[in-house]
Amino acid sequence: MSETARQNGAQTRAPVLTATNVTRRFGGLVAVNNVSLDVRPGEILGLIGPNGAGKTTMFDLLAGSILPTSGEIRLNGALVSGEAAHRRIGRGLGRTFQIPRPLPNLTLIENVMLAAQGQAGERLLANFVTPWRVAAEEKAAAKKAAELLDLVSLTHLAHEPARVLSGGQRKLLELARVMMADPAIILLDEPAAGVNATLLEVIIDRIRDINKSGITFLLIEHNIDMVTRLCHRVLVMASGELLCEGTAEEVARDPRVIEAYLGGAA
């Protein structure tokens, strides 16, 4: 299926993730104000805006790290606004962090295997009652984790502790880790931040490959080149509110976006 046909199909299907009139206050500060958005299946949606626009707060709201003061968040149609963060990945929503959070003393393969969902061995008693089932699941998880590490070109470090990784490699590890959970949608928080140009190309290629396999992305990014190359649609936030929506080229020409970034200097 061509890229255009895939995107047209995405527009006609129900959104993977929707936020309706979502607001989040911290005391007197309104970090996110009445924001509504929807992420369509199979697309890469960009979320950009100047520092302090409320992008990461919006991300945390969608991922369940913080709960909205008001408004609704739906994941594949199910209302998840009040649901704890650890339940969302089970519903198909995975996330990465602006500053990567590898588990430094666990090996890369352990880091990735941790993200497997519904493992019998994560139940205390199952390790004694059904050890054969736990062993079989571990074997399968290890195989899949090795494949994912290969996908992000980290196979040669699979049995090293994650603390040896460079900043860019940590981003790739997070991508492999979140993929282990078989998510329908992945929220990527600034995947290009602090990454050298060579590794950035690897990250862009992997995101594109993963997206082609049917996984939806919501991407916060300041690197406009990356946004332009990857995103099918872009949303712009400023001062906690949604400013506009369009293709990367459209929003780049929008005077409101220029005003938000340059603060009236333009």
């Binding site: 352990e110 941790l114 061995g121 196979t155």
Partner: protein, 327 residues
């Protein structure tokens, strides 16, 4: 020679009982990062529970059900585990030093209840006539001590193997993940509270089992056995042995108990009887000095989770585009 052998068995039995408490603490702290400074409380709960279940009927206090010793040990684990789970549910949203203060408070409450609830615990007089395994062999101390050592060794081995199995399991991997970065673990679908309560409960149950074993080994318990000094001793054992290592927990317990008992014997030889009460403080000094030496020479303890050196050197750290996938 026979006396020395008997003392050796007695010494090892006590050290292994300590090692059980240390294994419980290692699960909570070494694996999960839970700062429990109230472990003496859970040891006390186990000791009193087993004593109340197994001692003969006593009109002066409640309990005294006269049940078999094994029932007492199981009861101690259940009650200790439940007490730890309840403590966990109430406190595990707290972090590090706040959790430490709260758990310390729990231990003080348990000790004060033991001291004042005379109708239940015998108050300051404690509970005596706790049935001892192999009491029929009490006439021959060597045989009695060796038999007890065999039982305590078997229990310690079972607990050690079970904890080793768990540490390498997916369950253990989740605990380590929570220790390293709670937010990352939660984002991957792991409920921090659920797993922390489990680790706290299992650790508490093991500590309670140790308390029960000790109660039946000695045959008498009193509130003074469960003062904060017990918590201090066990923490030193874990730090010396190496936090995060079950083998370290056992080795540290035996080593620290050897120094504790050895320094006690030394003070009784070196000081006159009227000075011995004050000289006993030297035991704490000896342990403190050893702790300092260990932290300076081997900061991760004898068997601690030592940072592993990357096996592949500089080449392994290169960007994948430069270093290749290696697949």
């Amino acid at each position: 020679m026979i006396d020395l052998l008997g003392y050796g068995a007695f010494f090892l039995t006590t050290a292994l009982i300590f090692s059980l408490v240390t294994l419980g603490l290692n699960l909570q702290w070494g694996l999960t990062g839970l700062f429990n400074v109230g472990l003496a409380g859970f040891v006390a709960i186990g000791a009193y529970t087993s004593a109340l279940l197994t001692t003969p009927d006593d009109p002066a206090r409640l309990g005294g059900l006269g049940l078999p010793i094994l029932v007492g040990w199981l009861g101690a684990m259940v009650v200790g585990g439940l007490a730890a789970a309840l403590t966990g549910i109430a406190t595990l949203r707290l972090k590090s030093d706040y959790l430490a203060i709260t758990t310390f408070g729990v231990a003080v409450v348990v000790q004060l209840v033991a001291l004042n609830a005379q109708k239940l615990t015998g108050g300051p007089f404690g509970i005596g006539f706790i049935p001892r395994p192999f009491s029929g062999l009490a006439e021959t101390p060597l045989l009695f001590n060796l038999s007890n050592l065999a039982v305590v060794s078997a229990v310690t081995l079972v607990v050690y193997l079970a904890l080793q199995h768990l540490a390498r399991s997916p369950w253990g991997r989740v605990l380590k993940a929570l220790r390293e970065d709670e937010r990352a673990a939660v984002s991957l679908g792991k409920s921090a509270r659920f797993y922390r309560v489990q680790a706290f409960a299992v650790g508490g149950a093991i500590m309670a089992l140790a308390g029960a074993l000790q109660a039946h080994f000695i045959g008498f318990i009193a509130p003074d056995n469960y003062l904060p000094i017990l918590t201090f001793q066990v923490w030193v054992m874990l730090i010396v042995g190496g936090s995060g290592s079950n083998a370290g927990a056992v080795a540290g317990s035996v080593l620290v108990w050897a120094i504790w008992a050895g320094s006690g014997a030394l003070t009784s030889v070196l000081f006159s009887p009227e000075q011995q009460a004050r000289a006993a403080a030297l035991q704490i000094v000896a342990i403190g000095v050893m702790l300092c030496v260990i932290l300076l020479v081997r900061p991760t303890g004898l068997f601690g989770d030592r940072p592993r050196r990357p096996r592949l050197g500089k080449h392994a750290r290169m960007a994948p585009s430069e270093g290749g996938s290696g697949s």
